[in-house]
């Protein structure tokens, strides 16, 4: 896989205050000849939704402001005009009804894709997800093929209610799947897989990554399988398990450690949080012996604890040091930029942790 700096546009990444506006995605003629396009993370999601809606008439969209307005982030711009109002539904402001209706439509054979305007608002639909969506297949042997898109994560001055990383709320609910792409390629491939999966899938799409990263994404119909992580950077001294925006932080940190300390860090992008790619996790531990788990979600109760327990249960003898975890501080997401910078797992915290671990 690419090293950081190759194939990723990381202008200003790591400091939300100084991000310059990036130009619109440039569609260069050469790329089109090769049946590839340079897509931003957001465009990749859009492209996947569009292709899946063309492919399967059962796929339809519901959410607030997704039709006429094209979505708060413009992910669905142009969809209403092309697919019509029966397949792109502007709903009332009612997260519970939106998710509940999606569940109902799914159990009678449709394949709805719901947009929660911000991941934070999925809390309003929590009951529907955990009471209905998650439990129907186990009790009724009926598939619930629905996707809930969650614009997640901070570092965008969103404050406590527009910055959520809500995966921890749902990890303990059997029946839900959770995916978290970190690249445009995976954003497209995982969205396709999520839509084609017959289970309720929570799809975390990171607002911070929407327009900040772009890469070549094939035009062809490809899927990224659920439940499989990806090694983003090889290295045998230490492994970082991470997902979402912190994959890029980890890659930057790995570059620093390689350059300054001669330490080679393996970066594993988990991509799916439920079900976890336990095979990849355990083999990476066997091959490196030192583990850092990194996520933007707050630390306590985050998936880091689950992964750490998994590793100690199944690969304890391969550990050369205690497992370390980094997450955001255990606080609501603060608004003032100085506070949020302290809150988030920033590059220096990650470098320091990896350095410490490498010397342990």
């Amino acid at each position: 896989m690419e090293q950081p700096g190759e194939g990723f546009d990381l202008h200003g990444y790591g400091n939300a205050r100084r991000i310059p506006a990036i130009p619109d995605c440039c569609r260069i003629a050469e790329y089109e000849k090769e049946a590839m396009a340079v897509l931003t993370y957001l465009e990749a999601i859009s492209r996947a939704l569009w292709e899946e809606m063309e492919r399967d008439p059962a796929v339809f969209l519901l959410g607030e402001d997704i039709g006429e307005y094209g979505g708060a982030f413009k992910v669905t711009r142009g969809f209403l005009q092309h697919f019509g109002e029966e397949r792109v539904i502007d709903t009332p402001l009612s997260e519970a009804a939106i998710v509940g209706a999606a569940t109902g439509a799914a159990i009678v054979g449709m394949r709805p894709v719901v947009e929660m305007q911000f991941a934070d608002f999925v809390s309003c639909a929590f009951n529907q997800l955990v009471t209905n969506s998650a439990k129907i297949h186990y009790r009724w042997h009926l598939p619930v093929p629905m996707v809930v898109r969650l614009p997640a994560g901070g570092n965008i001055h969103g404050g406590p209610y527009h910055s959520a990383n809500p995966e921890g709320w749902f990890l303990n609910v059997p029946g839900l799947k959770i995916v978290a792409p970190a690249t445009p390629y995976d954003a497209k491939g995982l969205m396709k897989s999520a839509i084609r999966d017959d289970n309720p899938v929570l799809y975390l799409e990171y607002k911070y990554l929407y327009r900040r990263i772009k890469e070549e994404v094939p035009d062809a119909d490809f899927v990224v399988p659920l439940g499989k992580g990806e090694v983003r950077r090889t290295g045998d001294d230490l492994v970082v398990f991470t997902y979402g925006p912190t994959v890029h932080t980890a890659l930057e940190a790995a570059a620093v450690l390689s350059r300054e300390d001669g330490v080679e860090v393996r970066v594993v992008d988990l991509r799916t949080l439920a079900p976890l790619d336990t095979q990849l996790i355990l083999s990476s531990v066997r091959e490196t012996g030192k583990v850092l788990i990194l996520h933007e979600a707050t630390l306590t109760g985050g998936i880091g604890g689950e992964i750490a327990a998994l590793i100690t249960e199944h690969a304890f003898q391969y550990l050369d040091a205690p497992i370390r975890r980094i997450g955001s501080l255990d606080t609501p997401v603060p608004f003032a930029p100085t506070l949020e910078e302290a809150f988030l797992p920033n590059l220096s915290r990650v470098v320091e942790a990896i350095r410490g671990l490498s010397r342990a």
């Binding site: 519970a96 209706a101 186990y138």
Partner: protein
């Protein structure tokens, strides 16, 4: 559709006898967990389901056993489900009426009241998108109608003009809480105005009145007229569940409602019109008793699901 009075009478009696059998099995320790009856609610359950076509979606509540029966559910499946046995429609993974039977388009309730309303609305949405000419009908109680999902679901159905009918079974009590402590509205059907949809309050002890009101609502929904709200007023004649003796209900109130028993009401009318005779009634009762005995026997003979199955089937 099964709206002939004699058939409605039969189904109401069947529902009541099933409920009686369920209570008995619970007290014998054979049905575990809890047991809920719909005694007094038979007219609402049977009358409403009687106007549905096989392609319509039924989302019943826990006192609507009569609706399951009218829609075509077998006694065997009902008792297997209550007893939590291996061959039940949930494989023993859930109890009471919490099952789904897609072939009959029955999607049972869950314990979180009003949570199935948005789901039923979703079925109606799918029906509309697919131009199915199907209607989704759901139920909620006087207590459950105060949960947020009631409001969100009904409002969504109204604004999207979905083929959906919601029946509030106002049986005066939500567990131990009387209606006077559940809502300040004079009539629950008045809420319909808030959603811009028709709302009507009807006598829930009159199965023919229930059938008439539901027929109008369902046909209107089918023609693209959007949802309706029906408030069916009855009385919960037994406790909330088998473990509730309902001592908080004034005996005089129960006595007053006993005189309006939905089955007795229809029976008097059918006897007077000579549609029903004493012999026919006796024959019906014997048939019902025997059918229930057979179904219970079959269900009790079915084993519990094997422990090894516990971890399976979380995902499709």
């Amino acid at each position: 559709m099964t709206t002939e009075p004699l058939k409605l009478y039969y189904y109401m009696k069947l529902a009541r006898e099933c409920d009686t059998a369920i209570l008995r099995l619970y007290r014998q320790g054979k049905i575990l967990g809890g047991a809920y009856t719909g005694t007094g609610n038979e007219a609402t359950a049977v009358g409403s389901a009687s106007v549905l076509e096989p392609r319509d979606y039924l989302f019943p509540l826990h006192r609507d056993l009569g609706a399951h029966l009218v829609k075509g559910q077998t006694l065997r499946n009902i008792f297997l489900q209550q007893l939590g046995r291996r061959d039940s429609l949930t494989g023993g993974r859930d109890g009471t009426g919490h099952y789904a039977d897609p072939a009959l388009r029955i999607y049972g309730n869950v314990s979180h009241l009003a949570a199935m309303i948005p789901v039923a609305v979703g079925a109606a949405l799918a029906a509309k998108i697919r131009r199915e000419d199907a209607v989704a009908i759901s139920f909620i109680g006087d207590g459950g109608s105060n949960v947020g999902d009631f409001h969100e679901g009904l409002n969504m159905a109204a604004v999207l003009k979905l083929p959906f009918v919601l029946i509030i079974e106002n049986n005066q009590y939500a567990y131990s809480t009387p209606a006077s402590r559940q809502f300040a509205a004079k009539r629950l059907s008045d809420r319909a105005a808030g959603y811009g949809i028709p709302g009507v309050t009807i006598d829930g002890t009159d199965v023919l009145a229930v059938a008439d009101a539901c027929r109008l609502a369902v046909e209107s929904a089918r023609r693209g007229g959007g949802p309706s709200l029906i408030e069916s007023v009855t009385m919960r004649m037994q406790g909330h569940s088998a473990s509730d003796d309902a001592a908080y209900v004034p005996p005089a109130l129960l006595e007053e409602w006993r005189k309006k028993d939905p089955i007795d009401r229809l029976e008097r009318m059918l006897l007077a019109e000579c549609v029903l005779t004493a012999e026919r009634k006796a024959g019906m009762e014997a048939e019902i008793a025997s059918a229930i005995r057979l179904a219970v026997g079959e269900a009790e003979a079915n084993p519990y699901p094997p422990p090894g199955d516990a971890g399976l089937g979380v995902y499709a």
